[in-house]
Symmetry: D3
Subunit: 167 residues, 6 copies
């Protein structure tokens, strides 16, 4: 079957994502599911929008490194290294700054400027996956047993119940 | 420089790990840092011990799939798929059962039997890394700003403060 | 040696590249040479600026696929498939459009709007390399023998001499 | 199609393999054929049982490194490096010892204790393959010409005939 | 389905390729399309024939390194490094000489002896692809706009028209 | 440090290898050790010479697939598939025939013509390694215990002693 230009094309990354949600951010993915021409090629792209104080909450990509550049706004970004150090590497980024989140590490971005913020990011897989920590841990379906989470996070079950109720 | 048998050898995986800690489990790693002959070969091994009701709390390996087999005891194991489904795939394992945790996904094991439990697990990297979610998120050093975590987990800062105090 | 936030950081991708050159475009690379934290991670980023009618002339990346999104302006983009078909896959892109150039294929972008154009692109290697066809073929140092090029391009040596004089 | 917990699960690695055979050992594989959830994930596991003086005879894995830990008994293990040195790297292992057999090298294990021996091993492919040297060389089907083997092993054809008769 | 010897077999690489064409050379490929047993194995082979002064014109392989040995004749070979240096690495080869063309770089061979020349080359992919620069650039179908090429090669459109007319 | 043409060059593959040895064949390798420019590029080349009835005895390459073409003579070639089938895939090759030996499988070539035979082969690694089965098994240094080999090959120790005496 012959490929066509449409197979390598996706439209809409200029559109502001809807950030009217609990975290005040929105990821618009351009993965192989959205752009079939990426298949087997080991790369993909996203746009992320942040309302003022919007947060792209702590998450990991199980199959990709991410590199991001700020198009608009001021963002605090960070990632945490593996056990046992759990070092928090963090930086405030301005327009035009670029930052790398190595494969599989927990990372986040938060809008710390006055207006909206926008980034374009690239990922080293056509199907990188994304695991929002809070959703995976407290919003899994069916839920992870609350006594597991109580012990893992060393809090009362009531706190876990409270957390699970949100997701 | 000539290799020697010692370069491919590690001793001590029969020893019960000390589970006198907050989660009641202990991982004994045999990675390239412990067994230099694994270097570049894309594989490693661990032993995990669990006290009764001990937990290997939710964590990820940023660079490896894990496959484990139960040597002793009864374990509930689970992993959570990526966004948006966050499906919780879980199973109770008995002695001789084998289970797979695909690369980068959040997973855990909990001793649900009456006695101790022991597993041998293998990982698809000589340097797989491990990220304990609670430690990376609430115990990062320096800490992740508490308002980031409050928003990510949709709880009051006081709850986050409580969580951060534990790690 | 401990990593620092600076190791994962690069600044300046908001700055318009100087397009006062023969082709009217400028690539600002963020490869491992510019951003050491990208090392071994298999990804990198560039900004490309185009003056009106500016051209990023036909080139290849020997070790990477490229995916690009238009930040500003209107671009005609294209790539050519391998022998024997040499199909020219081409498309006019507007702001927010995304396009993929598969690894190693000859591709180009041309500003076909009235004003400047800007893209952010990502590449599937921390060290993708770039081979501008005209420079590699007619500007190699020392030059490729002119009778080789005359035969390859099936023109008189005088045409080749004319071409080589430009590079 | 949705994955289920059963896709990531295999049962039976606690069962002693039947070692009533010519070499006195038995491999119980958990490869992608037995555990479909291993597919594409680059790892697998086996249990190996050894009767007293049982032997896992010289063999190679064409697509995997192996790392093994002794659960029970005392084993002599060894591998041989490539041409031209053919160095024999060997070691006697006790319970809890771990040893690595690099990808593609000829290796073996022999029970040198008084009782049974058991190991759990991991391999760096979901489909590692196994080539028992004696079977591949003297038991190929149809047979390798006996004059080839006589010359390769520098013995009379009668010796080769004797060897081929066994496999 | 069982494999057969025929699946791993190709015949005809001793036959002189027909060099009665504009460049005086002929590539006879043995890729996965010609030899299905190469599939997934990451290697392939070609024979190249050169009439006296025949040329294998400047081209790239988007997915492979090439290593070649001269069976007959005298060849000048060369490749050009990436931007910004565009260094021309060149050498005259005699029978029995071996030369490497690293993945994705523009390279060529030219018969500089009195008679025919023949090489056997190997490529590090079962499906390496080949992009003849002149054909991809001046013979793309549909054509690349002549003003793009005029600017890229810094010549009058009339020269480009002349070049495009040949391919 | 700047690369030079010499870094990508090796000379001497036209020279007949000395086949005055026990097996009547000779491999002339062009691996990264002989041709540094191959480093990291995942490919290499060899010439193999065979006296009449010469044999390249059963061997494996632990890190490479091999594809060969016959330059001169008539060769019987074969490889054996993995356990449990140990199928012997064999074919008589003439000049110009090409054959593939998949990664890690035991394979051999034997001159079955009247004169000398010559092949050029390529391997999918710059450092493929080679394990001659007879040497690795019966000629390891220090020797593999003769009772191991007696049991593996199911013959008397006296036969093993005889075999080990040759290597």
């Amino acid at each position: 079957m012959q490929v066509q230009a449409e197979d390598f094309f996706f439209s809409g990354l200029h559109l502001r994502g809807n950030t009217s949600n609990a975290v005040g951010s929105r990821v618009t993915p351009v993965f192989a599911a959205q752009l079939p021409g990426l298949n087997t090629l080991g790369i993909s792209m996203v746009r992320i929008d942040y309302a003022p104080w919007g947060l792209n909450p702590p998450h990991t990509h199980p199959r990709a490194t991410e590199v991001l550049t700020v198009l608009e706004g001021t963002l605090q970004v960070g990632f945490v290294t593996s056990n046992p150090d759990n070092r928090h590497i963090t930086k405030v980024l301005q327009k035009g700054d670029v930052f790398v989140f190595p494969v599989g590490l927990v990372h986040y971005q938060r809008n710390v400027g006055n207006g909206n913020a926008v980034v374009i990011a690239a990922l080293s897989s056509q199907n990188p996956g994304a695991i929002t920590i809070a959703n995976a841990v407290f919003g899994a379906n069916p839920p992870i047993a609350s006594d597991i989470l109580a012990r893992a996070f060393q809090v009362d079950k009531s706190v876990v119940d409270q957390l699970q109720a949100k997701f």
